[in-house]
Symmetry: C2
């Protein structure tokens, strides 16, 4: 027998890669009875209607939020405050409001002042995604075996937290709970810094003339292409992340630069033993990631010779 739905009505604000994946997963795994989709773009809403991944994609805020006991904001971090202000008048008393933003401290600071005291606000961040964007890019299994971090405020109701955990578990994720501040430091290291570095190295290549650029493309299988994938992610989303998590990102970047200065010196002085030791040490982390099911061990990510 199928498990009963966890929420009655889910309202999603923003139907990009993550929003449309939540819609598809919530329906496929029976996590909610009904789904309403809202988006700032009429074009996106039209596409959502074509894809038929929501029950209501009319764009009417009052209608979409009426009876919604779970409201998930899936908009870029930079507009979280504006979205909160826009939905606030229509939120049902007792509704659980959440989000999926990659930065938590700034989102909480932006959204909280607008939300009525009658709702439960529990921010969330599913660690899942691809380099593609928009409602067509989503899929129901995006969250399978991925972590979803919840950062409840200190006064959060246990029942609300449990229900949101159950929702994410139902659609495939594993749930972890931590403070917003801790989240922002960990993600600065595991996500924001890697993206910044990837954007930067692709930018370095782009600085060269056309001839070198075409050679870079041609011979990219030698390492470069892996960086271009994550540097192809949505520009608006990443601009907002770096601005919203400025302090933690700058701190991690400082540590990264210290290490890079050491490696640079080892190369310049010909310290082969130092380089070898450094390169050996970093293999252990890769092994742990594969062992814990966070990546495939297939060579080349399983590209299969592509």
């Amino acid at each position: 027998m199928a498990e009963p739905p966890i929420f009655d009505k889910l309202a999603l604000i923003g139907i990009g890669l993550i929003g449309s994946s939540i819609a598809r997963a919530a329906r496929e795994f029976g996590a909610v009875r009904e789904i309403a989709a809202l988006d700032a773009s009429a074009e996106v809403l039209a596409r959502v209607r074509e894809l038929a991944i929501a029950d209501d994609a009319s764009g009417d805020y009052a209608q979409a939020l009426r009876g919604a006991d779970l409201v998930v904001v899936c908009a870029p971090v930079g507009v979280a405050g504006a979205v909160a202000a826009q939905i606030a008048p229509f939120l049902e008393p007792g509704a659980l409001v959440s989000d999926v933003g990659s930065v938590k401290g700034a989102v909480i600071a932006q959204m909280t002042p607008h939300l009525p005291e009658t709702v439960h606000f529990i921010p969330a961040h599913p660690i899942a995604g691809t380099e593609f964007s928009g409602p067509d890019a989503g899929f129901a299994t995006l969250f399978r075996n991925r972590w979803c971090i919840l950062t409840p405020p200190e006064d959060a109701k246990a029942a609300a937290l449990e229900r949101l955990s159950a929702f994410w578990t139902r659609i495939g994720a594993r749930v972890e709970i931590m403070s917003a501040e801790h989240h922002d430091r960990v993600l600065a290291l595991t996500s924001h810094l890697p993206h910044l570095i990837a954007y930067n190295i692709v930018g370095t290549a782009d600085d060269f003339g056309e001839e070198t650029r075409s050679e870079v493309v041609k011979f990219s299988a030698s390492g470069f292409r892996d960086f271009t994938r994550i540097a192809a992610s949505d520009a608006t989303m990443w601009r907002d992340i770096f601005l919203a998590n400025r302090e933690a990102v700058l701190d991690m970047l400082g540590r990264f630069n210290e290490d890079l200065t050491l490696l640079q010196r080892m190369i310049r002085t010909g310290d082969g033993q130092g380089l070898f030791d450094f390169f050996t040490r970093t293999r252990a982390i890769r092994r742990s990631i594969v062992e814990q099911g966070q990546d495939t061990a297939a060579p080349d990510f399983g590209r299969g010779g592509n």
Copy 2:
């Protein structure tokens, strides 16, 4: 009807990922009549005999090189000179000697003094690989649709160059010819710098205490894991590459640092437009790489939810 072999006997010196892939591919695509394998490690040779990917893996240099009209050195760049000295006495007059090293200038400088004038030396570098090492890691289709760069000396015989090109084409690669110096600059950008950065960011994570390290592993799907894959490559190989291509790597690293300083300033000063423009510009390179068949367009490298 099958094409006739391009060489009579291939001798491979060093049977790791690349050497064992060449052995498998040369046999599968009928590029040579006979294959002899040599390796500094008796263990590797024993494994080559078990895998039966060469006709002769006895380890006898005189026997392996007798009648070999193609000799390919597949050892780490740092031992290229020593290997050249070791094989020199046994090389047949007129034999074509090549290699697969990721750096060309230093390899040419190390090998040339040892090689007899009766052989043709044409260095090569197939832009192919995975993060795995050793004779078990190789496969016959590793070079399919990948570029192989040849860096012939100015006085190279056209016939020898054509024959080596034909060999690489037969085993699946596309051949490009350029100077060793140009190769070393292009690869410093497309391969050596990305690997250095990847090793460095994994090292930055490793500097943290155990608790943070375990969180880094847990939440690595957010970007970090892509870096750990290329930072899991062979430590000896990469130590040698950075030492052998020191000048070009330090030059590219300098450019990378300049760009990173600009991005850092944009974040610090809150220059959202600057960040957005930068992140938009870098998408074009990704598109070219996918269009030219140098990577898959499947989301997440086609990991399929892993």
